[in-house]
Amino acid sequence: MSSEYPIEIVNLRKEYGSFVAVNDLNLKIKKNSFTGLLGPNGAGKSTSLKILTHLITATSGEAFLNGIDVTKDPRAALTGVGTVIETPEFYPYLTPRETMRYVGEIIGMSKESIRSETEEILEKVKMVEWGDKRLGTFSKGMRQRIALGQALMDEPSIIILDEPTSGLDPRGMVEIREVLKNLRTDSNDLTIVMSSHVLTEVQDLCDRIAMINHGTLLMDDDISAFLTSHGTRSIIAKTAGLPVPELIQRIRDMDYVISADRLGNDIQIIIDDSKEDRQRLFQDISGMNAGVYSIADSDILEATYLDMIKESR
């Protein structure tokens, strides 16, 4: 296995009876990248990550962590790997410091390293003042910060995150994202893979995107390349009332418009990603006097994501 790809999934398959959750998936995660794993519910993201972290076994295929197949030698493969799968729970009668010590002792760290790293990590996740309180009294957001903290014990070279902000309130989400952002800037040798449903979160944190649907890989690329690969831009036009079909058709008929469709109470217009076309669209729609009161970029990642998922159906 190449050291350029610390995480490598080869022909991975997971079947539950007749249902195929992961369908001969192949995926390579680049060293020192922060890869967002995207896909709708049931796409196979969590299943793949759970196989990678040895929570479930694969029906067939291989999953390498730092060159070691987790399906064959999970203990060796998971050495140097930190994980936060969904929103894990902790033993409520332990404190964060005791939890870190427990994890550190399992990994085989020395007492001194455990002590110093625990303080460093609690600082990182902003939980120093809570270090000796029992976890049973913590909010979900606080527990998730501790979950992230324990994943950082022994300075892992790989971190696997499965929807780490799922179920958190907006403040909790922001706090976790802050920690993840700092991780990227603080460490030179860290590969992170994170599954998420929150596209803005992926856009904000990740430098690469891998998209999965029906257990197979749809694409895997740099986020910048992903956003421009389609070479299009999605524009949302808002009208005072419901958009009338005639208006949509008139927009569609413009020679530079790729598509125009009703999207709820709005119109989604896809054009080439050029300043000129955007300018022309703005002028043309304004000139129509058709009740359009707002023209703005839609979420590009979301639009592209939906396009790709639609295509893969």
Partner: protein
């Protein structure tokens, strides 16, 4: 699936044991278990005074027959409270998401859980034994070595019963259900099966578990004395009734005779000190077999 464990696997099992002990000791179930044991001890100690009697002048056998009679039931209650949730709680409470994703074999986790459960349960029952020994010293002036043998069998019984609880814990999805099923299996199903079996049932878990009390000669002698006294007074009554010419009274005498002959239909048997080595082996085998089944299920269980 491999039995092989190296030194670092055992070190990790030790870490899990330590953590499990801390976790349990701080938990509510530990407090409840301790309270159950202390309540039993308190009731046995105080109730004789409340009913106008007391412990003064009682023999060691009398005292042991009171204090040890409830020990196996108390052991099962504690096992049901603590061991039945040992495995399932990792999945139900989602703590497995932290522990199982670490570089540790599930076998090490499993081993750590067995050791911690048996140690905690043994600790709770040790308190009961120490208090019983203290009562014996105060009222009879000494304590027999056999009380220690009884404690040894109590630990073996905890080991075996915990094995059954682990099997249940490995298969079910909810801890509360596991506790109820464990109680049902240990306190009802196994004793009923034993009751239905004919002949010597030395190989059954509850029979072997009775060695906790039958290994103490003072207890056995005291118990048998009570049975013999009962039988002798019954026999006296029967002999008296037999002198009657009334057929109804003779029928009653005949029925009473059958009760004496069958040792109250098997409920008031003269007991003997069992083969201790054999019964220890039985308890060990029950435990090992049960833990093996639980281990197979546990290492394959998916989250």
């Amino acid at each position: 699936m491999s039995f092989y464990m190296d030194a670092s696997d055992f070190r990790q099992a030790y870490v899990v044991t330590k953590n499990e002990i801390v976790k349990s000791v701080r938990g509510k179930k530990f407090v409840v278990s301790l309270a159950v044991i202390l309540l039993i001890f308190l009731m046995i100690t105080v109730l004789p005074y409340a009913t106008g009697g007391g412990w003064s002048g009682k023999t060691s056998g009398d005292m042991l027959s009171s204090y040890l009679s409830y020990i196996s039931m108390a052991s099962l209650l504690i096992v049901a409270l603590l061991s039945s949730v040992a495995l399932v709680s990792e999945f139900e409470e989602r703590t497995a998401l932290i522990l199982f994703t670490r570089p540790i074999k599930r076998t090490s986790i499993f081993l750590g859980k067995i050791i911690s459960c048996v140690l905690i349960e043994a600790f709770i029952l040790a308190i009961y034994y120490i208090l019983t020994a203290a009562m014996l010293i105060v009222f009879t002036g000494g304590v027999s070595f056999e009380l220690l043998t009884s404690f040894g069998f109590c630990i073996l019984y905890l080991f075996a019963a915990s094995g059954i609880a682990f099997v249940i814990s490995a298969f079910i999805k909810k801890g509360s259900v596991g506790t109820i099923i464990t109680l049902l299996v240990l306190l009802m199903i196994i004793p009923i099966i034993t009751q239905m079996m004919s002949g010597d049932t030395w190989f059954m878990l509850n029979t072997a578990g009775n060695t906790i009390i039958t290994c103490v000669p003072d207890y056995v002698n005291s118990y048998n004395e009570q049975i013999l006294t009962w039988m002798s007074s019954m026999q006296g009554a029967i002999d008296y009734l037999d002198t009657s010419i009334d057929p109804n009274i003779l029928n009653v005498a005949e029925f009473m005779q059958s009760m004496v002959d069958s040792q109250m239909f098997g409920f008031m048997k003269i007991i003997e000190i069992p083969n201790l080595a054999r019964e220890a082996g039985v308890l060990l085998l029950w435990g090992i077999a049960a833990y093996f089944v639980a281990w197979i299920k546990f290492i394959r269980k998916e989250f």
